[in-house]
């Protein structure tokens, strides 16, 4: 398993914990993850509101970098899949192929722009979200084998957000996604049954129409009251759910705070990886309830000790 890794801007700054835990967990699972050299911003969800052509060329530039690197590696080098942890980056990169793939004029325009850097996009690099790779390339069985400290008794609410499954449902049901459940159970934890897993958190309305986004976020937090933690697979969902809890809960009439963590952080905890290496201290809402339950994981597995480099060999 070899991937060209596109971290995206958030993962270099506010979501560094998502970046660090993704790299550690993928390495633990035996995957080779190589950051794309010279990558630039994909335009996020803002660029489409400003320029149609930029919407496609900004992400296409990064895919062209992957193609060029593969070409310079030799005539027979396979173009690797592009691994993307951020939902907005994933959608932007994915839709280049989805739309320009059947629109020659658009493809021509994209390549006319990329020619200023002597680059070309052909669509050879397949775009994959981290969750897709974990579920379909790695698989729940390999995850279970990597677990040395099962998260027994931890109730986990899987939060998928919007853009990893809509408008292009590549690996799960876009209305009622369930792909995270086998992973959660492989970690020894329990899946929390709820209906807010694919409900919008408000996204960038948190910056432009805060009072509207707070209601969206508040409803999700209310629905998660029975869970010990919400796990996310998107830096913007994570930020909206963890950073505005007092205002969001107030907007929907009150409720208890809920811990929020990235999926690979939770996986890292079950793999026995060091909490500091997983950058858990950067999370903005980790409740006592969550911490207490997670602290018990080594008590349940007395033979396991916390270590930075567990010697589990993935299948």
């Amino acid at each position: 398993m070899k991937y060209a890794y596109y971290p995206g801007c958030s993962l270099t700054e506010s979501a560094r914990e998502y970046d660090a835990s993704t790299r550690l967990v993928m390495a633990d699972l035996g995957a080779q993850v190589e950051e794309i050299e010279d990558w630039t911003c994909c335009g996020a969800s803002a660029v489409e509101s400003v320029s149609r052509l930029l919407t496609y060329t900004l992400p296409a530039r990064n895919l062209a970098l992957v193609e060029r690197a593969a070409a310079s590696a030799g005539r027979d080098a396979r173009v690797p899949d592009v691994l993307v942890p951020c939902a907005a980056c994933y959608l932007n990169l994915l839709r280049v192929g989805e739309e320009a793939g059947r629109d020659r004029a658009l493809a021509g325009n994209i390549n006319e722009v990329l020619a200023v850097e002597d680059m070309h996009w052909s669509g050879a690099a397949r775009v994959r979200h981290l969750l897709d790779v974990l579920v379909n390339d790695v698989g729940a069985d390999a995850v279970r084998e990597a677990v040395i400290a099962p998260l027994k008794g931890l109730v986990v609410a899987p939060y998928y957000g919007c853009q990893i499954l809509r408008p292009y449902p590549k690996f799960d049901d876009p209305e009622h996604p369930r792909s995270m459940e086998p992973l959660i159970e492989a970690l020894g934890a329990e899946t929390y049954a709820w209906s807010s897993g694919a409900r919008c958190c408000g996204a960038s309305l948190m910056a432009t129409k805060k009072e509207v986004a707070l209601r969206s976020t508040g409803r999700i937090l209310l629905d998660a009251q029975g869970a010990d933690v919400i796990v996310t697979v998107c830096p913007m969902c994570q930020m909206n759910l963890e950073a505005y809890q007092s205002e969001a809960l107030a907007a929907v009439g009150g409720g208890e705070r809920v811990a929020v963590a990235y999926l690979p952080q939770l996986m890292g905890l079950a793999f026995g990886l060091d909490e500091e290496a997983l950058l858990l201290a950067r999370n903005m809402e980790l409740t006592r309830r969550f911490r207490d339950k997670v602290a018990r994981r080594f008590a349940d597995a007395p033979q396991a000790e916390p270590q930075a480099e567990p010697e589990t060999e993935p299948a």
């Binding site: 801007c9 958030s10 270099t12 700054e13 506010s14 560094r16 010279d38 990558w39 630039t40 911003c41 335009g43 996020a44 969800s45 803002a46 660029v47 489409e48 509101s49 400003v50 320029s51 149609r52 052509l53 930029l54 060329t57 900004l58 530039r61 325009n109 006319e112 722009v113 990329l114 200023v116 850097e117 919007c162 853009q163 809509r166 408008p167 449902p169 876009p174 209305e175 409900r199 919008c200 408000g202 996204a203 960038s204 309305l205 910056a207 432009t208 129409k209 805060k210 009072e211 509207v212 986004a213 209601r215 969206s216 950073a243 505005y244 201290a281 950067r282 903005m284």
Partner: protein, 210 residues
């Protein structure tokens, strides 16, 4: 006396040679900006031309409660020549790109893309409302152009300036401080500063071609 000077830059207004009477301007040459706006609106009309008014989009929208026009009503108004009513509404600025409507539309229309296209049309139309609503997107893209990769702290600082609302930063200040404490905010240099300059220039050149 000339009403045009009201909006003109002070330096220009005081320039000595301005005897030309604005009223003398002859027959309306087509305004390229108005033409571009009409073309942008046509693009949206084309996207939603197949709308059969079932209202699934409105029912699926998580932000509909805050909109002045429901999405279903907005598409109808646009197709029937009420472009100003659509442009004056804040409906399309309340789209959070969740793609719920796009997924469920029984006609398979690209409604989320149509919302974004309306935001682009609104930039061409201009006006004070647009400046405020569009400030975030414009600032974001400018951040990408300058830095190659987005710096969230730089983005928010420029956004507050663009909003021209001295109170705006206060609602984000407690969070900003918490993020600083967590090491999640800060003005670090971008390793890719200026990297996207040529690409942006080329896109601009192509988009300004008629």
């Amino acid at each position: 006396m000339a009403p045009a000077t009201e909006h003109a830059d002070a330096a220009t207004a005081k320039a000595p040679e301005a005897p030309r009477a604005p009223a003398a301007a002859p027959a309306p040459a087509p305004d390229p900006r108005a033409q571009a706006l009409e073309a942008a609106l046509d693009e949206v009309r084309h996207m939603v031309a197949g709308c059969m008014q079932c209202g699934t989009c409105s029912a699926s929208c998580p932000n509909q409660f805050a909109m002045d026009l429901t999405p279903r009503r907005m598409w109808r108004l646009l197709l029937h020549g009420y472009a100003d009513e659509v442009m004056d509404s804040k409906t399309f600025y309340l789209c959070s790109s969740c793609y719920g409507c796009t997924l469920r539309c029984p006609r398979g229309l690209p409604l989320t893309r149509a919302m974004a296209a309306l935001k682009r049309a609104s930039i061409l139309r201009g006006g004070p409302g647009q400046r405020r609503h569009g400030a975030f997107y414009a600032t974001f893209v400018d951040n990408v152009r300058r830095l190659g990769r987005v710096n969230e702290t730089d983005l928010m600082a420029h956004y507050f300036v663009a909003l021209r609302d001295p109170l705006a930063p206060f609602s984000f200040m407690p969070l900003g401080l918490r993020m600083l404490a967590k090491g999640k905010a800060g003005l670090h240099g971008s390793p890719q500063r200026g990297r996207l300059g040529p690409l942006f220039a080329k896109v601009r050149e192509m988009e300004e071609k008629p």
